[in-house]
Amino acid sequence: MSDYAKPLPPDDPANRPFWDGAKRGVLMLQRCLDCGRHRFPAARYCVQCHGERSEWVATTGAGIVESYCTFHRAYWPAFARDVPYDVVQVRLDEGVRLFSNLVGVSRERIQSGMRVRACFDPVTPGVTLVKFAPAE
């Protein structure tokens, strides 16, 4: 048993390729086979063309920070040790947005527009979170 106490992602079968990819160190996105648009979380139909055919594809995990905020309140007891902690809003080069955390950078250096790349944080034996680090 892991003693990891923070919330884990919901075990939604539709999103498993994303989390399985994270365990392998790859950021996977769903892609529409009709119009090519990427999406996450998984959806049966494409928001752009409403096509039903899709595949999961590996991406480079590259994107930019669009914004960030700093939590001074812990909404879960397991985050109490972390406050203040930062959440970033990332837009991947494929156009998909994610909320995540930035690693390997001090708070003062976080700014909107900075290039970042996905990195992978195995928090339990079963779950690897997708986080981001400044792009080299």
């Binding site: 919330p7 905020c69 700093t70 909404y75 203040p84 809003q89 995540s100 779950v127 979170l129």
Partner: protein, 380 residues
């Protein structure tokens, strides 16, 4: 919008409960309390209600059962603040279509006593997928607005002191409102000293969480003229949604849909931003006030920070806004109490916080569903 509907429907009665911590009342009780007050306000009785619109109270059938209301038209809406404006517009449409003549809109919120948190495991903000981001500690509508405010600061140079000017103005209004929950004015230094909840937002940038209820009675303008109080005419209304990608903050701070709504609501009312005697802006967090002022054209894009910094939103100044104290200081009634304040302003009932000669008052909300209404003292 059908311009022929301008001024055809009016608010006849409004009712509010006490605000604060009311643990002995559930949401139904708060709704009944407010509805009794609204009916008393316009000299109507429960038997006069033939349309019922319920918001945040869990079940419409139960509400009708405990009040003995058997309406011709009924609906219920989710307990999100954007639905106050949607409900009022629905009532206008229902009345204009003849589905009902006298519609009771009833809202009850026992969120304080029920321990509502708006963040963490119970976070239901947005379109329901929030749990995906909990592992990163991302939660709460406050954080969503903090992300928006950070971008506004970086793009336009907006400052948190400018947010402080909004919070101070509204608290100053609440000090004049005996019904307000938070009535002690504070200085900019005290604002700066307030603790951050989700930086750049501080405690004083957040709405309250309190118990209370609000009810409104809407009817035709003709019928309203025969009732106990002067009608508050609904002179204009508009609505637009931006759902695509709305798990994340909108790149344009909702300016696109707000401009659509502004075009509709002002065209219908035959008036523009400069004609408004007071504003009621949905202030779940101080930044939405900035976004609303830009979206509805009260100031140029990116200039809302300097626009509010000199206290322009305070009573006696150019653009009195949230004269009740708003969600930040009066009561978190999710837009309902702001609409009631608009009605009370055009009736001239606001006492120490009355805007002199208030003829037109506009309500607006910046959210994934934008709504706005213009209330008029006169039918045209």
């Amino acid at each position: 919008m059908n311009k022929a509907l301008a001024g055809r429907v009016a608010v006849a009665g409004v009712g509010t409960t006490r605000y604060g911590k009311l643990p002995e009342y559930d949401a139904y009780d708060l709704g009944v309390w407010a509805l009794k007050a609204a009916l008393d306000d316009c000299d109507l009785g429960f038997g006069d209600i033939d349309g019922l619109i319920i918001n945040r109270i869990p079940d419409y059938q139960r509400f009708g059962e405990i009040t003995g209301i058997n309406p011709r038209y009924t609906t219920i809406t989710p307990g999100q603040g954007r639905f106050s404006g949607i409900c009022i517009q629905t009532a206008v449409a229902v009345i204009a279509a003849g589905l009902a003549e006298t519609v009771a809109l009833v809202y009850g919120n026992n969120g304080r006593s029920a321990g509502d948190q708006y963040g963490g495991a119970s976070d239901a903000y947005g379109s329901g997928g929030a749990g995906l981001w909990f592992p990163y500690g991302m939660t709460s509508p406050g954080a969503f607005h903090a992300l928006m405010m950070r971008r506004h600061m970086e793009q336009y140079g907006t400052t948190t002191d400018q947010l402080g000017a909004i919070a101070m103005a509204f608290r100053g209004h609440a000090a004049l409102n005996p019904d307000a929950v938070m009535r002690t004015p504070f200085t900019l230094e005290e604002y700066r000293a307030a603790r951050f909840i989700c930086e750049p937002l501080r405690l004083l940038d957040y709405c309250l969480i309190n118990d209370g209820g609000v009810a409104m009675i809407l009817t035709t303008a003709e019928r309203a003229r025969d009732l106990g109080k002067p009608p508050a005419y609904i002179r204009g209304f508009g609505q637009a949604a931006e759902f695509a990608g709305s798990t994340f903050p909108p790149e344009d701070f909702w300016r696109g849909p707000m401009q659509k709504v502004a075009n509709d609501v002002y065209a219908m009312a035959g008036a523009g931003p400069r004609d408004m005697d007071a504003l009621m802006i949905y202030d779940n967090f101080t930044p939405t006030v900035l976004f609303s002022l830009e979206g509805f054209g009260f100031c140029p894009v990116g200039e809302s920070g300097p626009f509010v910094a000199d206290g322009k939103l305070a009573l006696g100044r150019a653009l009195p806004t949230n004269t009740s104290g708003g969600h930040l200081s009066e009561s978190y009634m999710q837009g309902w109490a702001l609409n009631v304040e608009a009605v009370r302003q055009v009736r001239g009932e606001c006492g120490a916080r009355q805007v002199a000669d208030a003829a037109l008052v506009q309500y607006m909300t910046a959210a994934p569903v934008i709504t706005s209404m213009i209330y008029g003292r006169d039918p045209q």
